[in-house]
């Protein structure tokens, strides 16, 4: 959650092609990627999807290393799950890891290129009002509480000598206790402020589609879906040729595009 500070900054301050696309377009593209990985167990298809996402990351203005590092965090559990499935086939195990990598990267690309408020505005159209309010307040509260919680954690660290594990654990739990205390104080004030500023209104203008920026996203996802479908139809080893060749080409082209826009 500490990363939410960085993600929030990236989503609101960077200006790549992904940022220019609208929230609905990116949500639809993310949904399409998830649909592919749900429908397919083909290592080649999944490799192509991941390659395309990497190309999207490289061609955007988003910071490469921090985002890739963040996207790799959930892979440990995917790998663990894959290992326990090694009794089946190696392809199945690799596909599991690929699926974990794809989900993580697609979500990060979405949230790092779209201000959260825009995503919430789309979600509010399909969510009951109470749930939407809880979500909005929850997201805001992360920023308001995080600094306080980090300060409490530092205070525990500064004010504690070397102690036994159970004592350290109970002391560290105080960080959570203070966060809850602060949350309870913050909650009522926040809600009052939210109501006063009209964010509880029933009719909310959501973000609209943006043309031609959304055209890039639509074209990219259409090509990806088409390629995935075609690869899925090839049943022999030649299907690995497609991602093996196009993947690096895509990434190379994206890298060049990134270099040209940032230099």
């Amino acid at each position: 959650m500490i990363d939410v500070l960085a993600i929030d900054r990236w989503s609101s301050q960077e200006r790549g092609w992904l940022h220019r696309a609208s929230a609905p377009a990116k949500l639809a593209a993310a949904a399409a990627c998830i649909a592919v990985l749900v429908a397919s167990r083909d290592v080649a298809v999944l490799a192509l999807v991941y390659g395309a996402l990497l190309a999207a990351l490289m061609s955007s203005r988003l910071p490469l290393r921090p985002l890739l590092a963040l996207s790799a965090l959930p892979l440990a559990m995917s790998a663990l799950f894959a290992i326990t499935r090694l009794g089946t086939t190696w392809e199945a195990a690799i596909a599991i890891v690929e699926k974990g990598a794809i989900t993580s990267l697609v979500l990060l690309l979405l949230v790092a290129s779209t201000p959260a408020i825009q995503l919430f505005q789309v979600m509010r159209r399909v969510m009951p009002r109470t749930l939407a309010e809880i979500l909005f307040l929850g997201y805001r509260s992360v920023f308001l509480l995080l600094g306080h919680a980090l300060a409490a954690r530092e205070a525990v660290r500064l004010r504690s000598a070397r102690l036994s594990f159970p004592t350290r654990l109970k002391r560290n739990a105080l960080v959570g206790a203070l966060a809850v205390l602060r949350a309870s104080e913050l909650a009522t004030e926040q809600y009052a402020a939210m109501r006063l500023r009209g964010l509880g209104a029933s009719a909310v203008d959501g973000p609209r589609w943006r043309w031609p920026s959304d055209l890039n996203v639509v074209l990219a996802i259409t090509l990806l879906l088409g390629a995935s479908f075609l690869i899925g139809r090839i049943t022999d080893a030649e299907r690995f040729l497609v991602p093996t060749v196009t993947g690096p080409l895509l990434i190379l082209a994206s890298g060049v595009a990134r270099w040209r826009t940032t230099s």
Partner: protein, 232 residues
Amino acid sequence: MTHIMVPDGVLAPWLWVGGWIVAAMCLAAALWATRNTDRMRLVPLAGTMAAVMAIVMSLEIVPIGYEPHLTVLSGILLGPAYGFLATFVFNILRMLVGDGSVTLLGLNTLILGAESVGGYYLFSAFRRLTGSPTGSGVAAAIATVVALAVATGLFLAVVYIGSIDIGAVADQAGWDTLLERAGTDDPGFPVFAQLVLILGAVGWVIEATVTGAIAAFLRAVRPTLLREAAAA
């Protein structure tokens, strides 16, 4: 930690679609249960508690790297309905930092929501102990261990059932046949289950210690926080 951390597209579609449907029904029931409540107090508290759950999970407050969820605590403080809603929002907040599975959001909400709802009722059952900070801490700790154990069982059941190839057994009748086929295509499941239970038991104790310490602190500093959930 009973969050299903299986990637999207691994569990059978009927399982996670079913999870979404049941989760949606539970969310609807929770929303219906909130209709005559003190919204001005509980809606923002649910939001801030969802944030607290997300923050505490990421702060590495447990020296060995375990990530406490505080779902049981949220149930204790918010009551079952708002606790369930806060848990759903917590899952979404996790997804917003790339940590979570989209298709499994429904199942994860059900499992973690069970911790929250179960935690509330278990804590209420031990309410006689909550006359002091220590008693509140013990009650919260016991509630946490039991709720997490049940949730872990649910988690394993989901993974176990998820290994059933429904298509292959569709033409065979009988629940027994279904159970016979369950897990047989998945030789890794016993290993996985053992790992989960062993690590899980350690996690239950750690989370119980954390939740108990927080409950004891709150009982000493703001006892109304623990009492008001009963009225929610």
